[in-house]
């Protein structure tokens, strides 16, 4: 079930209405049932998969907490189980294909008919939606229990943590401690939270449907007509993809967070203005925050983190980012993307250390010119990295970069861009962001009562009916600007 689908439009209000209409003791079972219906709407059989993984991890959590002598073995067993499940469903086909290609390549090199004629059985495993996300949540759970956190004693609560539909398919990757705290300290209906939820859903739909999907049409054209692109077209396609994935994913997250708020739950933020990052390290603190913190806590730090020799630290960074790339998809260009980011992070760290060691450079680093140069360079890096992520083949990466440096005149993509509604939509979004930033920075305590702005804000905040009309206007605008075809969320495939 997609968040931007007709089915979800019916599903969510029904679940929310029923949730608040029922007594507290029925709400969690309702949410659990709704989460499983949400998941099984895609493929019913895989509901058993998530149930099985939940049951095993629940039992492991209890066992790790209770069996002091065996806890390390149990943790290892749990890791093997979860990673094994992920590898089987996500990487089996990829590993078989890669092994086959390697065998044939060796056969060609050695001119061996035997090797060239090798065939491996085809597995054709269907990737369960969201498996990358909920296995990471299970791994976090058993590791944290091993590290001393109290396990969840109620199976249904744990099942709800694992299957919670607002974050089930594409994150954010939740921490069970936060979620359980919310379960244990349920408050009643909060109108401010409800309003925030509605606002977030509308914002998310606008970002996903209006900005992300419209940009996706242009990006798709660019990447399927690489040979016909001029220089500006190529940069438009490269930059377009990076922003498309941002609008798509952050839009999804907003809808998920908004849906959770409607039910009285808070789900962590996943994006914090990532494109204002002055370096790659900062970028990864602002982009897909739940994944980057997971990688930091459960991969980077256990590997040694920033402790050890410079080469050890570089190894840890490279390994973490390469595996992070592989997490995104079973294909070599994802691995390459991860390694590219790893290389960038290594360079970023080395550069930071180098500058810190030079007093003059360290002083220059405080300047705005240095800061904004860093923002531009980081964005350039991201556009190139995005090309690696998006391109259908490794050869296409080279072609796109070649078009981007070709100094040829603009082709069809620039014309398509100007004909599309995207520039207008972007202008509206930027205007909205500017107003939001201004309002966030407006200290109402310091503002004179007679200022019209404050009068308007007071009237706005006390007029639910007017806000309802405004939200309906945004919804109609989203409908109007939506492209003809409903596109799935990019991160669904992970």
């Amino acid at each position: 079930m997609l968040f931007n689908s007709f089915t979800y439009l019916v599903f969510l209000p029904f679940v929310v209405a029923l949730h608040w209409a029922l007594p507290e003791r029925f709400r969690r079972p309702l949410l659990l049932a709704a989460s499983y219906i949400f998941y099984m709407n895609w493929m019913p059989a895989y509901g058993l998969l998530i149930l099985a993984l939940t049951a095993v991890n629940f039992a492991l959590g209890l066992a790790i907490a209770e069996q002091q002598n065996l806890r390390k073995r149990l943790l290892q067993l749990g890791l093997v189980f979860n990673i094994g499940a992920l590898c089987f469903f996500k990487y089996a086909n990829f590993l078989i294909d890669s092994a086959l290609q390697t065998t044939h390549w060796l056969g060609a090199a050695a001119r061996s008919e035997a090797l060239l004629s090798v065939k491996f059985p085809e597995m054709n495993v269907i990737l369960p939606l969201g498996i990358s996300f909920f296995t990471f949540e299970f791994i976090h759970y058993i590791v944290d229990v091993y590290r001393g956190s109290k396990p969840v004693k109620n199976f249904f609560d744990f099942a709800l943590f694992a299957a919670f539909f607002p974050s089930q398919i594409a994150g954010p990757i939740k921490r069970f401690q936060d979620f359980m705290h919310q379960l244990e300290h349920r408050l009643g209906f909060n109108s401010a939270e409800f309003r925030s939820g509605v606002f977030l859903i509308l914002q998310g739909l606008f970002k996903k449907v209006v900005l992300g999907d419209n940009l996706g049409i242009l990006v798709s054209y660019g990447f399927t007509h690489i040979g016909q692109l001029g220089m500006i077209d190529a940069w438009l396609a490269m930059a377009g993809f990076q922003f498309q994935i941002f609008f798509d994913f952050s839009g999804y997250t907003d809808i998920g967070r908004g849906s959770a708020l409607l039910l009285g739950y808070k789900v962590p933020e996943n994006f914090d203005w990532p494109f204002i990052s002055a370096n790659l390290t900062e970028f990864w603190r602002r982009w897909h925050i739940s994944l980057s913190t997971w990688l930091r806590d459960y991969l980077f730090i256990p590997l040694g983190g920033s402790r050890g020799t410079p080469n050890t630290v570089r190894r840890n960074i490279m390994l973490t980012m390469t595996l992070g790339g592989l997490w995104h998809g079973a294909a070599w260009h994802y691995v390459l993307w991860g390694a590219f980011h790893g290389a960038g992070l290594m360079f970023s760290k080395d550069w930071h250390d180098f500058v810190s060691a030079k007093p003059l450079l360290a002083k220059m680093r405080e300047s705005k010119v240095w800061h904004y140069s860093g923002v531009c360079i980081t964005m350039l890096f991201l556009f190139i990295a995005g090309t690696i992520f998006r391109a259908a083949t490794l050869a296409d990466i080279g072609h796109m970069l070649e078009r981007a440096t070709s100094f040829t005149p603009s082709g069809g993509l620039t014309q398509l861009f100007l004909q599309s509604t995207f520039p207008a939509c972007l202008a509206v979004y930027i205007a909205f962001l500017a107003v939001r930033v201004w309002l966030d920075n407006l200290d109402k305590h310091e503002v004179d009562l007679t200022v019209p702005v404050l009068k308007f804000l007071i009237w706005w905040d006390t007029s639910t009916h007017v806000r309802a009309v405004a939200y309906a206007t945004v919804a109609v605008a989203t409908i109007g600007f939506a492209p003809g075809k409903i596109a799935p969320f990019i991160y669904f495939q992970f």
């Binding site: 007709f6 109402k444 009562l449 007029s463 109609v476």
Partner: protein
């Protein structure tokens, strides 16, 4: 409104108080809601118009044809491809044309559905317009004649309309196209045409309101207007809906959403079908209009329609050419139909262009198509084929004849 402190700055508790919801009178709530809605509608209409959004409405109900183009409507098409053009004052997806054919003009009429209509590309890129340009460009090099009369100008008129069946095209020819006195008729046959020509009598309630056709026991082609009659109330002009359709971009946006959901969401489609059946019109008041006949062979009916078109064109000394939409996805049903069409075209005295072969010969065939329709490249290819057919088979070139 609380009073400000001495220096006009509020203290924290007072600020919090200000933002608390206070009960308003019903009257002020109603007034504010109306005012907000009014300004929101104005804002959206202007904003949508400036951005070219919600301008995809181009069809209106029609008592005779089921649907017809809205005359003079500006259509900004974004569902697949892109175009931003006006429909003509007579509701053609074309520039303005007069009924009376100027002297020396060789006029070609194009019949078909959305593939002929070509909303997915700019008007200048549709195969009709491109063919017209190609033919006129070659006038200077040639000495074209038709029936002994010199040709000084080629005109191609596009009568294509989304969703039209061959039956509707036959009616269109009789009631509209003939008035333009074309010299040649080109019909682009598309996937689904054969099914749309006949009515599934067991599913009348869900049938698209359009004229249907059947072949009686004497093998004569008959028209079944029962579905049109049953939906007469919906097809009759409605001032409010017509105004919204022609002018409101918000209406256009919702209509576009409806179209998009119908295509993309199976559950939405099922719900619509369920509601359509639930609200199905009663039998037509005139019981004679509710005709029953045996289940029809769709291909037989389609062939009869095409035969009728060919016969009527020949009677009026017009050439008739059947073109088949390329079967580039290797649809076996379409492939089986096309095998029959070529000998059939010969039988009824029609010219025939099999576009499948031409498109499959193109090494970059995929570039010739958008998702369901021709791209600009595809239209150009069809235009070339059309122009070649006209030059080779329908007119004579005295320069070529003399040189032979």
């Amino acid at each position: 409104m609380p009073t400000a402190s001495k220096n006009g700055i509020l203290q924290e508790p007072q600020v919090v108080d200000l933002f608390k919801e206070r009960p308003k009178s019903w009257f002020s709530i109603v007034i504010e809601t109306f005012a907000a809605t009014f300004f929101a509608v104005i804002f959206l209409e202007i904003f949508f118009r400036l951005c070219g959004v919600g301008g995809q409405e181009f069809l209106q109900p029609d008592l005779e044809f089921g649907t017809a183009h809205i005359p003079n409507k500006q259509v900004t098409w974004r569902l697949e491809g892109y175009s931003n053009n006006y429909l003509s004052s007579r509701g053609l997806r074309d520039s303005e044309h007069v009924y009376s054919k100027p002297n020396g003009t060789y006029r070609i009429a194009l019949l078909g559905d959305s593939a002929t209509e070509g909303l997915q590309v700019d008007l200048s890129e549709t195969f009709g317009k491109v063919a017209e340009r190609l033919l006129n460009e070659e006038l200077f090099k040639s000495n074209y004649k038709h029936n002994g009369n010199p040709i000084t100008n080629f005109e191609v008129i596009n009568f294509g309309c989304s969703g039209y069946s061959n039956g509707q095209e036959l009616l269109q020819y009789r009631k509209i196209v003939s008035a333009y006195d074309p010299d040649a008729l080109f019909l682009l046959y598309n996937r689904g045409d054969s099914v749309e020509n006949t009515l599934d009598q067991g599913n009348r309630a869900a049938a698209e309101p359009r004229p249907y056709f059947y072949v009686d026991k004497d093998l004569r082609l008959r028209q079944d207007d029962s579905v049109l009659a049953a939906n007469a109330d919906k097809l009759a002009p409605s001032p409010v809906l017509d105004f919204l359709r022609n002018n409101s971009r918000i209406y256009g946006a919702f209509s576009q959403m409806n179209m998009s959901l119908t295509i993309n969401e199976s559950r939405y489609r099922k719900l619509r079908l369920f509601l359509t059946k639930l609200m199905a019109s009663k039998k037509p008041s005139n019981a004679e209009e509710f005709v029953t006949y045996p289940k029809q062979d769709a291909l037989l009916v389609t062939s009869s329609i095409l035969q009728e078109l060919a016969a009527e064109s020949h009677v009026q000394h017009r050439s008739f050419c059947l073109m088949t939409f390329p079967n580039w996805v290797n649809d076996p049903i379409l492939a089986a139909q096309y095998v029959i069409f070529e000998p059939f075209a010969n039988l009824i005295g029609a010219h025939y262009i099999d576009l499948t072969k031409s498109f499959k010969a193109d090494p970059q065939m995929r570039e010739d198509f958008l998702e369901f329709h021709f791209s600009a490249r595809g239209h150009a290819l069809v235009a070339r084929k059309l122009a070649d057919m006209v030059q080779r088979d329908l007119i004579t070139d005295e320069k070529v004849t003399r040189s032979r």
